[in-house]
Symmetry: C2
Subunit: 247 residues, 2 copies
DNA sequence: CTCGGATTATTGGTATTACCAATTTCGCGA
DNA sequence: TCGCGAAATTGGTAATACCAATAATCCGAG
């Protein structure tokens, strides 16, 4: 990528080597001087990459000893790249359900007005508009809980949704076929407006339940198509056409 | 701190200046060369500190333009230092309650055995033992959900509990007077063993409800003592003793 | 032969200097 | 006043030097 900083590319490559097992957890990375030769960059650039990895708690640096790979599950990052769209969605259903219930009790009229605006934007046909409105809607609810820890956790869930390639792809695949979005958010809004905690929780659960069903359907469809592709390939592989034509 | 790396001290000082408002959110940090002069270190050391801040998503760096302060709520760190012990505990009650309910459905016999062992360790008189057992107990439950996203979120809640000075102090203050710990965790364990999701959720809620009550009591006690200290000081300030003795 | 201490080698830590790339600011001319 | 080009400023990368901490090796004594 043009203009991308060199240390970031090095970080990505080192992470890839950690994930592939080349640099095992608990083991030592090659020395800075060797990494600099290997990646054909200067040693300060390597140092910058290592500082970033350290800030992300992917490595631990011991003076005079070396750079050691940490277990990624303890990272500040908190993103395990193997998290599936189902796991994320289930966690969101549980957490955002509780947040909606609490928000129903605490929400202000200003926040209700913000939700109403987001609902309108959610009906827009442009993906960038309705996706931002969707995010805004959920964020207002997390704020309405009046609990900054919950707000932070829900932000993290959205961060995973947006940045994990696997999850992002899965959500994109079901997004264009999403016809219930507005009505479901409308149900959530009505429950909040009525300050009905139980209804808010239920509406949020139903919203995510439908998303999980869509994810399942999309995965099923993908696997059927993958099998069909494989059959086409086998048909081509074992057809007798090339035997006939080669004579 | 002897042996502490220079760039980390610089990171801490820059974060303190951001938090104090000296470097406002959205604004630009002084240039690298100026920061190097200000902190009396070399420019590469500043660069290392800035790389770390960037990895933590506290700042954004624009080539030729400058280093800009990001809103901390969007940080990977996810820790807002103003999060109160009440907010953390409320969030834990809600999230860990749901996790316990799900774990009741999914838990394995091996995991139940792990919980039993942790329960025994929780009765130990040594703080280091029962605190680790407490943490282990909750971690096994998060693992038992079979949802890595939930596990990661609950790890993050524990991380906040352990690393936020404010929260850590509050929990320490109620820890020594904690006489219900074992029986409450026993209730949670029994519900899980019986695979009763509803009972597990309720037991977890009661566990945290009692913690919140203890936190309130401790805060109340602290405020009463602060008022009493103030009264003692006023009494000393306005007593006529010094007038008598000075004649 | 083994063990301990001293020495050497290795690895990370910090600084100085140089030069390049991108952006912003300033000055000049239309 | 506005637009364009040049200069200044700011971040990006590299090379080199030397220091601090740790690990490895070697040598001598028991």
């Amino acid at each position: 990528m043009a203009g991308e900083r060199l240390y970031k590319a090095i970080v990505d490559q080192i992470i890839a080597s950690i994930d592939s097992g080349e640099f095992p957890v608990g083991g030592r990375l090659p020395p800075e001087r060797e990494l600099a030769e290997r990646f054909n960059v200067s040693r300060p650039t390597i140092r910058e990459a290592v500082i970033a990895l350290e800030a992300l708690e992917r490595v631990e640096v011991k003076t005079g000893s070396g750079i050691y790979v940490l277990e990624s599950s303890q990272g500040l990052n908190g993103i395990d790249s193997s998290i599936s769209p189902f796991e994320l969605t289930e966690a969101r259903a549980m957490i955002e359900g509780e947040a909606a219930a609490l928000a129903a009790v605490m929400i202000t009229n200003e926040q209700l007005a913000e939700l109403e605006q987001a609902l309108q934007d959610m009906a827009d046909a442009r993906p960038s508009v309705y996706e931002n409105a969707d995010k805004k809607f959920h964020h207002v609810i997390s704020r309405a809980t009046g609990n900054k820890m919950l707000e932070g956790i829900i932000d993290k869930l959205w961060y995973v949704r947006d940045t994990s390639p696997r999850v992002h792809r899965a959500y994109q695949a079901i997004c264009e076929t999403d016809t219930s979005r507005v009505s479901e958010h409308q149900d959530i809004f009505e429950a909040l407006k009525n300050r009905d905690a139980k209804a808010a929780r239920t509406a949020m659960h139903q919203h995510f339940s439908r998303i999980i069903n869509n994810l399942i359907a999309a995965e099923e469809k993908e696997q059927v198509e993958a099998i069909q592709r494989k059959m086409v390939e086998s048909r081509e592989r074992f057809s007798l056409t090339h035997l006939v034509t080669s004579e």
